[in-house]
Amino acid sequence: MSRGRGLIPYLFLLPGGAWLILFFAIPMAFMLLVSLQEGSLSTGYELTWNFGIYPEVIAESSDQIIRSVTYAFATTVLTLFIGYPMAYTIAFRGGRLKNALLLIVILPFFVSFIIRTLNWKMILADNGILLGTLKDWGMLEAGFHLIATPAGVIGGLTYNFLPFMVLPLYVALEKIDPRLIEAGMDLFASRFQAFWRVTFPLSLPGVVAGSLLTFIPAVGDFINAELIGAANRDVTMIGNIIQFKYLNANDFPAASALGFVLLVGVMVLIAIYTRVVGSERLTS
């Protein structure tokens, strides 16, 4: 690696770096500034350093904040339980099919997020393919529904974020030397113990990475809540509130304040992760 060959690295960084600073970093600062303003779209906004908006907005949307964290947590746990066996199977039992299996996991995600979620909604519809059949067979009561319930929304979130968990898990599991597991099996009584004492701890970086990659987008999601949650206000998440305030109510200060709260929460999680992992690993 050449050592600081003068300006060249900086020249290379300039176009993309400037773009990111202009359109990613600076907008974050603007979001903070706008949150501290008061006024409305018609009367114009004035920067009054209205820090009071933060407690106001947090209290008003505390339901949604708690709900978002809960749903995202549930989603993370579910994707972990569903994704781990899958990643394990591909990594250790995949053999020549490994790449093909990985591509199969990714394949659904070429199709638009919205189209997939809408079709899920159709599958989960009250009298649709799944529930309708079960109801006809008398296994479910007629009033049962999944649409507009927390379970439905969490199901949608789990579905949409599954690869975010499977892929990092796979990467971590793939690196584990199988001879370590064999050694473990020689030492421990059962295969399960060998797994729990050897494989799982070694896969922890993947678990952490996958959990972060699932939790963070899930906590800010609003599409699942809106599509699968239908009009049910009891399943709205913080993302729905932010979106509503920005685009419908045009209440920019409040919306920005909420957005900033979300941002800070996410930053804290990422900061913890960075400390643990180191910044070079971030982009690899």
Binding site: L20, T89, V105, L107, S112, N119, I216
Partner: protein, 288 residues
Amino acid sequence: MTAAAPPLGTAPIRSAPIGQRLSGLVLPVITALVVVFLFAPLVVMVIFSFNDPAGRQNITWQGFTLDNYLTLWGRPDITGPMLTSLTIAAISTLVATIFGTLIALALTRYDFRGRSATNLLIFLPMTAPEIILGASLLTLWVSMGVGRGFITILVAHIMFNVSFVVVTVRARLIGFNRSLEEAGMDLYADAWTTFWKVTFPLIFPGILAAALLAFSLSIDDYVITVFNAGRTVTFPLWVFGVSRLGIPPEVNVLGTLILLLAVAFIAVQLWQARRQAAAAQTVTIRGR
């Protein structure tokens, strides 16, 4: 990875007891179930793209028809947004790929002050929730009095694509064997020629992969776009809009077509990988 040979002194492997064989089935069964879970909506999508809905509701199966595939192209309310999405995707991919590749080159080949900061700047947009990325840009536009529309969507897409390009190209660059470049320079090529004749062709697959990733991310994007769109309608925005009335079969048609493209693309990838592996083997054998 294959298991190492059994340690010396152990008996040869006998057929595993039935309990172990059954429990050995658990994992593949779970995996198969998950795959079914993943593909369920896609199956529904493909089937219902052939549905012939009497009214506007596309909820129950009514009849098989190919009409949806044919009438799709005559509907400007669908082809318009699709074209907008494709244009935005194409331009943002081009720009983001150039920007991102440059950054990746800088990060992997040069040691300079500000590496950690750069890494952070690249990393954050990928992990921050999309709603933050989109909403913060909106506050920028509103504060500066910039009207939202095609251009602002484009700017936003380039922004979030750069990080993904950097990460993808970087992965490819890290495994790159620089002695090939040195060989080129030994043969009297200057840095510029060496780059274009040696380096670039070899990292091109990585750049292409990054471009494809950026393209599909852009076409599919809803959250960031909705905050930056103003009156402009992209395909995901349109889908979301009409979804109140149930999914029009045309949406499933487009989804199915995209799926076919993806399958074709993956098939090409796998086939190419096989060819490269075979070629590499031939070179190795000849080289010895």
